[in-house]
Subunit: 443 residues, 2 copies
C-alpha cells in the first residue's frame, strides 16, 4: 500500500475507501503502515480498522504507538481491545508501558484477568512462563470427537491456537489431540482412544532457549506449560518460539562480537546506548592487551638484535586469534543447538588437537617457504614455522575448552568467544614466539 | 527410554513389549533410539514400529540409516513407506542417497510421483522450490464450509498440513482459508465469503532465507509457492522454515568466524574436513597480515629510537579489530533480519561515526591517563590517545560499510565480517599509529 495515498485519503476523510483498504490488508502490514502516520492520523486510522483485526494490528505495533493509543482510548474502547488481545500479548505490552498506563489497563480488565496478568508478569524474564499464553483448548477424555468439535466451535475463536487441544482432568494434563486428528476422525470416536498420552511439556521456569530447542527438535506447533505441582497453566505457541530462536541467535552473535546485547533493533537503539553497549568490553580487552604489550617489552633485547622479528608479531597474533575464534565459534553454536555437551570435552579436545596439527602444518609450510624465499634465512623460517604450529595448537585448545568450561560453571559460553579467548591467545602466542626465537637464535 | 533395556527386549525377541514401547514413544525419540542399534537390530526394530509412525520415524533418521533400510526393504515395504512419506522428505532423502538407491526408489514410485520428484530435485539449493512439499489441501470457492470439512476428512490425512487450506481455480490461487475459520464457522457458509484474498506467497526460485523471514514477520504456519506462471505448485511448512532459520544463523556465525560453513554437525564432520574448512581463510588472513608486518618494518627507525612504541602495537590492533567487528556484526545481523538495507548506508555511517566519537573518547581518556601515570610521558599519552580515536573511527567506518557494500554487489555480507575487515583495520591502525608517532615525536 502506498503510504502517501493512504494519508491523503485519511486527510480527505474518505473513510469508506480507507476502510476497504484496511479490510484486505494483512495485520502486520497495517501496523507497519500506521507506524508512518503522526499521532492524530494514527488514532483516526486505528478506529477504522475492522474489529476482528484491531487486536492483532495493535499487538504488532511498537511500544510508543501502543502507549499513545492506550492513553487516548475511551474506557469502552480499551476494554474491547483488551478482550480481544491474547494474554501473552497483553503481558508483553505491560512489560514495556509506563506505570500510569499499566494501572489504567489493570483497572480495566476483570479481577480474574488481573490476577492472571500479575502472575504472568512475575515469571522470570526468558522463562517459559514469561512467553506462554493461558488461552488454549481444554477437552475432557470422556468427550467424543463430535463433542470436542462442537466445543471448539463454541470457544475456539478466542484461543490463540486450536490446532493442539489439551485433554485435562482436574487441571492435570492427561493427553493431547491435534485438530488434524479431530478433523479426519469420525464423530463418534471417544477422545480417550484418539489422544496421545506421551506428552512433551515444559515447566514455567524452564529457560526459553530450551523451549525453542524442543520446538525445532519435535516440529511442534504448541507446547504445554506445567507449574511446579504438575498442573497445566498455559501453552507456548510456535510463533513465540520462532521469535525466541531469532532473538537467542542474535544475542549470541552480539556477545561473540564483544557487545552487550540489546533487545532493540539497530536503528531503535540510540547512539549513546550503542556506545555504552560496546565500551565495557573494549575497555576490558584494551587493558588486557596491555599485558601482551608488557610481555613484548620484556623481549626488547631480542628485537633490538633482530628488528625483523617485530614484523611477524601481527601475523602470529592474528592467526592465533582467528584459529581460537574458529574453534570457539563452532563449539558455542554446537552448545546453543544442543549438539555439544560438557561430557564431550575430551572428545572435542582430541578432535581439535588433530585438526590443529593439520592446520598448523599447512600454515607453517606455506609461511616457512615464503620466508625462505624472501629472506633466504632458514633459522628465521624455522622459528616462524614452529611458532605457528605452537600458536595454532594452543589457540584451538583454548578456543574449544573455554566455552565448555563456561557452560559447566553456568556462565554464558558466548561471552567466552572473542573477548577472553583473544586475550589468552595473544599472550600465549607472544610467549611462544619469543621463547622459540630466543632459543633458536641463542639471544 | 533406556537403550539397554530396549536392545535386550529386542534380542530376547519380546516383540510385544517392544511394540508397546514404540507405540507410546514420539517419532523423533524413536529415530534417536534406533540410531544406537546395529544394522540387524535396526531392521528388526523398524518393522515393529506402528505403521502410522514409520514414515515419520524414517524421515527423522540420518542418511546412513536410511540407506541401509532402503537397501534392505522388500519392494512392498519400500512402496508402503514411500506412499506415507511427504514429498519434501522424499526429496531431502534422495539428495543424499547413493545413485543405485535413488534409482531403486524412482523405479518404485508411480510415474506421476517420479515426474514430481524429478522436478523438485531440479530446483536450486536454498530455493523455496527445494524445501516445499506438494501435498496441500486444495478447495474450490464454490464449496461450503461443510463440504470443505468433508473434503478434508476424506483427503486430509495424507497432507503435510491441513491448517491452511488453499482455494484454487484452474491451479491459480484465489484465496486462503484457515482450519480455525473452518472449525469455528457454521457449515452452510460459502468458502467464497470466508476466504482471505490478500495472499502472501513466494515463487519457486525465491531464496529460502527470504521465505523464512516471511514466516517470522507474519507468524505463518505455511506459505504457498507459485511457479513462474503464477500457478500454485506447493507449500512450505513452518517446520522447514524453522530449520532454515537455524541453519542460516549457523551459516552466518560460521562465516563470521572465517570458516567455510558445513551442513553437518560438529561431530559428524571429519577432522580432515574441519581442517579444510578452516585453512583457506587462515591462509588468506595470514598472508594479508604480512602486509601489516611489512608496513611495520618501514618504521624500523621509529621503534629503534623509541622501543616502547612496539609494546602498544597489540593494544591498538586488537582495539581496532574489536571495534570493526562490533560494527560489522550488528550490520550483518541487521541485514540477515531484514532490518538494515543498502539505502540506509548514509544513516548507518553517520550513526557509527557518532558512536565512534564517544567510544574513541572513552578509550583514549582511560588509556591516556594510564600512560601519564605509568610513564609520566605526556607526548606518549597524546600519541596513543590520538591513535586510539583515529583507529576507532576508521575501524567502525570500515566495519559498517563493507557488509552493506557486499550486499549491494550480491556478495555474502557475513564473509566480510572478520576476514577482510581485520586485514584492512590492522593495516590502517598501524599506519595511523606510526604516522601520528612520527609527527609528534618528530622522528
Amino acid at each position: 500500500m502506498n503510504k502517501e495515498i493512504f494519508i491523503k485519503l485519511l486527510q480527505q476523510r474518505q473513510f469508506k475507501a480507507v476502510r476497504s483498504i484496511l479490510d484486505v490488508m494483512n495485520e502486520v502490514d497495517i501496523a507497519s503502515l500506521l507506524s508512518k502516520l503522526d499521532d492524530k492520523e494514527l488514532a483516526l486510522a486505528f478506529r477504522l480498522i475492522p474489529k476482528d483485526k484491531a487486536a492483532e494490528v495493535f499487538s504488532n505495533m511498537d511500544t510508543s504507538m501502543q502507549s499513545y493509543l492506550v492513553e487516548m482510548f475511551t474506557e469502552k474502547e480499551l476494554k474491547e481491545l483488551l478482550d480481544d488481545l491474547y494474554m501473552d500479548d497483553t503481558v508483553d505490552m505491560l512489560e514495556e508501558l509506563p506505570a500510569n498506563l499499566v494501572n489504567r489497563i489493570l483497572n480495566t480488565v476483570s479481577a480474574t484477568d488481573r490476577k492472571m496478568i500479575n502472575q504472568l508478569l512475575n515469571y522470570p524474564d526468558d522463562s517459559a512462563g514469561s512467553i506462554m499464553t493461558t488461552e488454549y483448548v481444554d477437552l475432557r477424555d470422556t468427550m467424543t470427537v463430535g463433542q470436542a468439535m462442537a466445543h471448539i466451535k463454541r470457544t475456539g475463536i478466542h484461543k490463540e491456537t486450536i490446532y493442539t487441544c489439551y485433554v485435562t482432568e482436574r487441571r492435570k494434563l492427561v493427553g493431547i489431540v491435534s485438530a488434524k486428528d479431530l478433523m479426519t476422525t469420525e464423530d463418534d470416536v471417544p477422545i480417550k482412544d484418539l489422544m496421545e498420552t506421551e506428552i512433551i511439556s515444559v515447566t514455567t521456569h524452564n529457560d526459553q532457549e530450551y523451549v525453542a530447542q524442543l520446538f525445532t527438535k519435535y516440529d511442534l506447533l504448541a507446547l504445554p506449560v506445567l507449574d511446579a505441582d504438575g498442573l497445566m497453566v498455559g501453552i507456548v505457541t510456535f510463533d513465540d518460539a520462532m521469535d525466541v530462536m531469532v532473538d537467542e541467535a542474535t544475542e549470541d552473535i552480539t556477545k561473540m562480537a564483544a557487545i552487550n546485547p540489546s533487545e532493540k533493533t539497530y536503528f531503535d537503539t540510540s547512539v549513546f546506548q550503542h556506545a555504552m553497549n560496546r565500551i565495557p568490553w573494549l575497555l576490558i580487552l584494551m587493558l588486557t592487551s596491555i599485558i601482551t604489550g608488557t610481555i613484548i617489552t620484556k623481549y626488547e633485547n631480542a628485537f633490538a638484535a633482530i628488528p625483523l622479528l617485530v614484523s611477524f608479531i601481527p601475523m602470529l597474533m592474528d592467526t592465533g586469534g582467528n584459529c581460537g575464534s574458529q574453534s570457539a565459534t563452532l563449539i558455542i553454536r554446537g552448545i546453543a543447538l544442543d549438539e555439544i555437551h560438557f561430557k564431550d570435552l575430551f572428545k572435542v579436545v582430541f578432535k581439535e588437537f588433530r585438526i590443529s596439527l593439520i592446520v598448523g602444518a599447512a600454515l607453517s609450510i606455506v609461511n616457512g617457504l615464503r620466508i625462505l624465499i624472501q629472506y633466504r634465512n632458514p633459522s628465521l623460517a624455522l622459528v616462524i614455522a614452529f611458532s605457528l604450529i605452537g600458536t595454532v595448537i594452543m589457540a584451538k585448545m583454548v578456543g574449544c575448552m573455554l566455552p565448555l568450561l563456561a557452560k559447566k560453571v553456568h556462565l554464558d559460553p558466548a561471552i567466552m568467544a572473542s573477548p577472553l579467548i583473544t586475550t589468552l591467545v595473544d599472550t600465549f602466542s607472544i610467549l611462544i614466539y619469543f621463547n622459540i626465537a630466543t632459543l633458536l637464535f641463542k639471544l
